[in-house]
Amino acid sequence: MAMNRALLPEMLQCTDMTVLDRQRARFKWQQDHNFQQQVQENFFGELGGVFSVPNPVQGFQNGFDPVLLKPDPEMENGWPNFVGFGPCGYGNGPGFDVNYGISRTASCPPTVAAAAAAAEAAVENRELALPEKITSLAAKESSKKRKLDKLQNTKIVVGEDDPKEKRIKGSEEDGESKKTEQNTNNNKTSSSNSNNTTTKNKNKNKKENSADTSKENSKVSDVQKPDYIHVRARRGQATDSHSLAERVRREKISERMKYLQDLVPGCNKITGKAGMLDEIINYVQSLQRQVEFLSMKLTAVNPRLDFNNIDNLFAKEEFPANTANNNISTIGMSSDMNNPASFLQFYPVQQQLISSTGIEMSMINPTDMGLRRTISAPVSLPETFINSSCFTATPTWDADLHNLYNNVTFDQGRSFTSQPFTGPIEASNLKMEI
């Protein structure tokens, strides 16, 4: 049977309704609302022959008149959305993830009571067939998902101003978010919610509550107070709370891993937590080494910068030596900083400075892929010692870096004379002072 759309506006005027009629009206609204979102096709395919009432649904295919959905102030008490629903009860937004299988969110129409009220006064003859179908549908549905009844939360939807948008948003959130649901919380909240409503609507709500939890698997998203997290049990998967919580935890971890993959360069091809953790560890170590190296460099610098020059600093963010520095500075780290005056002059920019003062310091020429050390006669330079064990060059880093690492040979026992620093430091002071 198909409900005549033209009758609905009339029905809205009526306020007398039975519980069942409200359910029916809600169900119809649900179907209509969900058709607009074009979700039904998925469920029809999935459920196969479960849903046996396609006809009444098609009557709404032309779209629901939005005027009918204006909030009814009379129904601010809120209604539990116990609409019996078949596949059409999955009123999620366009972002709905089909992978989650059959979802259980049913968005409650704002004027559900109004619509329900309207439905009552209308053709009861036609509606007689519906409840049977609803129950049969629900029975078939629930037989598959009876376990999930516990996890379903039937929340009372509080009708307020402009609830329609909120509910649609809420259902979208529900569809897209991954959250966990806890049994005890659910039961408590649902029972407390039901208690609240019973104080206002008394008998009717109680009946609806009991009917719902026993038969129907609907879930209402309460946008105003998301006390707990919803989770959809996938088809064929365990539905007890432990495995659900475990699954949610795993999803959180993989979500963070993906985020870290974007942060750490060169991790696009690495799949798996172990490899990613390795990369992350290496990257953090390299960053910390870079900080040490740069602070070492800055020790010799006398920054006579005004704070006006900070803007200049930021403007030079993309200076071209950046990439080269990255390669080189990562190996400029010594693990043994207790040696007095370890000074590693690997910085290529300093080459000009150094050569201009007539002092040749050890430098890396990236094109040569090798490390040369030249020490001029008057000045013997201190050298840092790279502990090769602390240098972890991974294949994801630049090839230059890797080759450099292979070519680096340091002997770690070099002693250091007290003389050498005057030369380079004075030179650097000459050039670096601003």
Binding site: Q288, V291, I434
Partner: protein, 151 residues
Amino acid sequence: MNSYSPSSTLKSRFTRRFLRALMKINSGQQTASPRDVHRRYRRVRIAADKSLALAVGSRRSWSRALLCKIRTQKRRHRRRCASTRRISSTTSTQREKCLGLKGKSRELQKLVPGSEGMDLCSLLDETAHYIKCLATQVQAMRCIAHSCNSP
């Protein structure tokens, strides 16, 4: 994502603090003795860490732990020369491969300050924020070094 993304203000906050500290450290005469140089180096590094932690604020566990460590280090250093932070990897790449997930996450916990006793989920969260801030710090310090080198 739920982690906080350090905007340019973090960079400017860090740079301001760090430059101030740097000028204070390097303002004295630049002695050539290796011990002085090493001491200055250590002060610069501590200043870098401290500036970063203060710029981030105390909303993150790692920044709080970093500040706490710096303060206790200061106290210990007054009595005797405390060892500074070392970037020595406790496991080589080979051993890292053998370690399971738990070993690696413990390894990561050692690297990220203040992350002991965290489950993997929040550890990853903390690590992501830490990496972002470290990258900002490295970039800012590089800018400073570059601008000082080539005026």
